[in-house]
Amino acid sequence: MQKTSSINSSAVLADAAILSQEELKPGFFRLVLSAPELARRCQPGQFVQVRVSDGVAPLLPRPISIHGFDGEQGTLSLLYHVAGQGTGKLSRLAVGESLKIWGPLGNGWIMPENLTGGSKNLVSDSEVSDSQNFVGGSEKIPTDAPVDADKILPLFVAGGIGVAPLPPLAKAWRDLGAEAILLYGARSADQIVTADEFTAMGVDVRIATEDGSEGVTGRVTELLKDLNTGDKLPLLYVCGPKPMLKAVAQLADDQGWLCQVSLEERMCCGLGACLSCVCKTKTGDEKVGGKGWTHAKVCTDGPVFWSREVVWNG
């Protein structure tokens, strides 16, 4: 059965004025927008649809993660990398111009308050694997027992521009006084952005670059391998290119760590209506004659999924 409830009931459409646009490193931009109603409704890990032009080039909106939000100031920030026509055009917009955005969309990261015992959101492992409806970002925890936020080691894992949706999450854990780690991988030092802002939040930042121009040489998985987790259970929050998500998810799975991934797919509506953005998720129904997977919508069932929900080889 597909969920009828995965509707972004709090989403709004806004004409957002550009308050600032800053090029952090060549091709990497941070945009701050005024969108009071929208900013008030955001949860870490959600995204917005951004209409870059009024005309037909480009025609469709671009999904961009919410990099920061401030309900009191009524502002929203986006961090993006110029990938093509849409983000290119976005980067040429100036302060004072405005653009249409709608959101917040999707299910964000599981938040510390949803981990503690007694939360209505907790379900056990056995329930999860028997469920015919194993989709949905932050609603279920694939462990047997309720988890205490104090016993968790929050581990943010970013690949390239995948760092974008992590700061609001880091803030939430900082506010709890948690010790958190950011493992940040990129091709080279000129693609590492906002790392110092995590450091300023008290996050232990560790960097890997493929060309060795900063931090450890190699991929982000290098950083994971010799991680000392102490007596805590790591909870990984991962965002980046698919091969990286897959590698990290596998590592986490092997270790028995909790792991959430934020997936990307081509989107049209972002609202769960067009079905262009699907990914394969497990249903656990192989045993009863099912095929064991279904097509979940990245936009409304995700973009955040438990790594164990995702069918990685499909």
Partner: protein
């Protein structure tokens, strides 16, 4: 503006205004509820429904093209039983008729779907999508052969009391031949156009962009083709037309009505602006106000 008549009748389906949604672009309706008052729509056409649930095609399923987009969703849907059980009840709370778009692999599938939906409370009309492959005849589309299109229409007609709207595929040599065939077989209205078969190639990977290779083109790029076909079909048959294909604003909608459409459906535009349907309705009203039109029915076919 107060005494403008916006009511139209689409083959027996009374609508408070001519604005509907194109199947597959509006989900099951409620997805757009945060942005618009669904009660203001003339009708809601929901996602294509089949007898059995379908998972659809692998990704990528969509690609943007100049002034348009390609999609190859592959009719992912929960199946007609789940639609009736899970999606129809909330739709019944809305004061807007719901049109169900149906698809099948065989003529019998269409007949069974029609009889199941005929008994469903809250379904106002059926829109028959004939742009899907006829498995029995080796994958040719029902919508490209007049005889199969007529057979499908007859199967639906015989199994329902509700208005039957047959949605034509533009991927044919002569659209009027298809229109005549389905009208003779009992269609109360026609919907056109469905998407135009197309493709895109990524020159970097040297591979087709869509996993399915081919996809359906929609959006502003197809508008001239849609208008032409509606204009031709309006002259060829005597049933109302639900026009669609690249309608982005009120002016586009007016052009479709002038070409012969009684009502219009908003598709790809929903993705570019979640308020598109109501902005288009407002645009129609503004035009009528400005042009001194007292009844939108005056516009239908006025370009001929």
């Amino acid at each position: 503006m107060g005494n403008l008549n916006l009511q139209v009748n689409l083959g027996g389906l009374a609508m408070k205004n001519p604005v509907t949604t194109a199947s597959g672009t509006f989900g099951f309706g409620l997805e757009f509820a945060p942005f618009i008052d669904l009660n203001r729509l003339g009708a809601i056409v929901v996602k294509g429904t089949t007898l059995e649930p379908r998972e659809g095609n692998p990704t990528p399923r969509m690609a943007e093209t100049p002034a348009g987009m390609l999609n190859a969703i592959g009719l992912q849907n929960p199946g007609v039983e789940a639609f009736i059980r899970d999606y129809l009840p909330p739709l019944r709370q809305i004061d807007t008729p719901v049109i169900v778009n149906l698809s099948g692999n065989s003529v019998e599938d269409y007949g069974r779907l029609a009889s199941i939906l005929d008994g469903a409370d809250g379904v106002a009309a059926l829109e028959v999508n004939i742009s899907c492959p006829n498995v029995k005849q080796g994958g040719i589309q029902f919508g490209t052969l007049p005889a199969s299109a007529a057979a499908v229409t007859r199967a639906v007609r015989e199994n329902t009391q509700k208005p039957v709207i047959v949605k034509l595929s533009p991927n044919v040599t002569d659209i009027t031949e298809m229109a005549r065939a389905v009208v003779d077989a009992g269609a109360d209205a026609l919907a056109l156009i469905n998407t135009l078969l197309g493709m895109d190639i990524d020159i970097r990977t040297r591979r087709p962009v869509l996993a399915n290779i081919f996809g359906g083109l929609s959006g502003p790029a197809v508008k001239p083709v849609a208008l032409r076909m509606i204009y031709q079909v309006y002259k060829a048959v005597n049933v109302p037309i639900l026009g669609m294909g690249g309608i982005m604003n009120g002016q586009d909608a007016i052009a479709f009505m002038l070409a012969g459409a009684t009502a219009i459906a908003v598709g790809t535009a929903n993705f570019t602006n979640p308020r598109a349907t109501l902005d288009i309705l407002d645009g129609i009203e503004e035009y009528c106000d400005r042009e001194g039109v007292r009844d939108v029915n005056e516009l239908i076919g006025a370009a001929h």
